[in-house]
Symmetry: C7
């Protein structure tokens, strides 16, 4: 039964460090604080990376779900 | 329980200064006055930035949700 | 309570001059006569601008919501 | 009350000559015979223009709503 | 009353020869055999044209609605 | 009555060889084993073609509906 | 009856190795652990490939459905 729904995987990653990648190729690394069925996501202690380079430190960031391609625990 | 839904994070940012980034790479900085479940957003005392440069001062601006990638408190 | 929903901001702009910007970078200036929850918009006494230049005078124009990025009172 | 909903403006344009512009920059001029809530549109005595030049005469044309940016009475 | 809904126009074109144009600029000519509210369409005795040139003969073709820009009777 | 709904045409193609074309211009040929109202499709004994050339043999392939432009029986 | 719905094919691939391809041309190979009706997918022991080359090892990866073009068992 474990792992049967995709959102269960996000739930297990809650409060853990994840990488979120967007359709525009930006990456956001941070602690997964919240998500919903649209895959809207909130990260804390986030940083933005482009081509592997850190571009910005962002305390907290809300990412709109429809712009996301993948989410993976670090 | 804190932080469990993404819109809660937007709610805590209400009346605070945020940066909103769009799929077209424009950025809008201003005070978050309103948002809804589509992530339509209203900022006040807003300015538009492109490539980090201020392009325009906008008193109030309505931003359509489906054009937004991220929202982050300043 | 004031300003709590994004459509309230559009409602306060009704009959006032606004600028509407589209994903294709065109801008429409005119008096906001109507809008709906899809952010379909009708302007009157509208003009179209591209790169800041007036291209056309349009008496009345219906703008489909999903093509809009921002709406701002002049 | 007049003009309060965007579809009212389309309704007033019914049977009148309108210009419909698409995301692919094509323009269709013709008499507005029908529309629905998706902004699917039917024009009659239509012609297609690209960059202001008439490309084709089309007796009747059905235009899918999600490809439309603006509709304006001539 | 005639012509009041866009799908009525498609209904009158049923079994007649139509041209269907897609967002990718391909054109399909054939007899309109079926359509639905999503504007999914089935043509028979269809041919595919690109830039006005016949590329392929297709006996029957199902065209997904969200890829269509216009449909016009020949 | 025959042929009145687009999905009827897909149903008649079930277990037959079809070509499925995607928005990214890839083509998949194979036996149509399943489809649903979103036009998600499953082919078996499938091969992928790009510009008319066979690129890969795929035993079974699930194709997400919103990426499909056309489906045609061979 | 077998194979009648596309999601049945995904269900038979559960826990097996699959390749998932995205609109941005990235490929993810891994064991299919979960999927839902939006075709959101979770892979485990995943690796990312671009142009056939392994780019990254990812323990677990959530892939948003609307970015997926095809899923195929290895």
């Amino acid at each position: 039964m474990e792992n049967s729904r995709p959102l269960d995987a996000l739930n297990r990653a809650r409060d853990k460090k994840v990488i979120v990648e967007l359709k525009n190729n930006k990456q956001y690394l941070g602690n997964l604080k919240a998500f919903d069925i649209h895959i809207n996501v909130v990260l804390e202690n986030a940083e933005e990376r482009v081509d592997g380079e850190v571009k910005r430190k962002l305390g907290s960031v809300f990412i709109r779900g429809d712009t996301i391609t993948i989410i993976s625990p670090e």
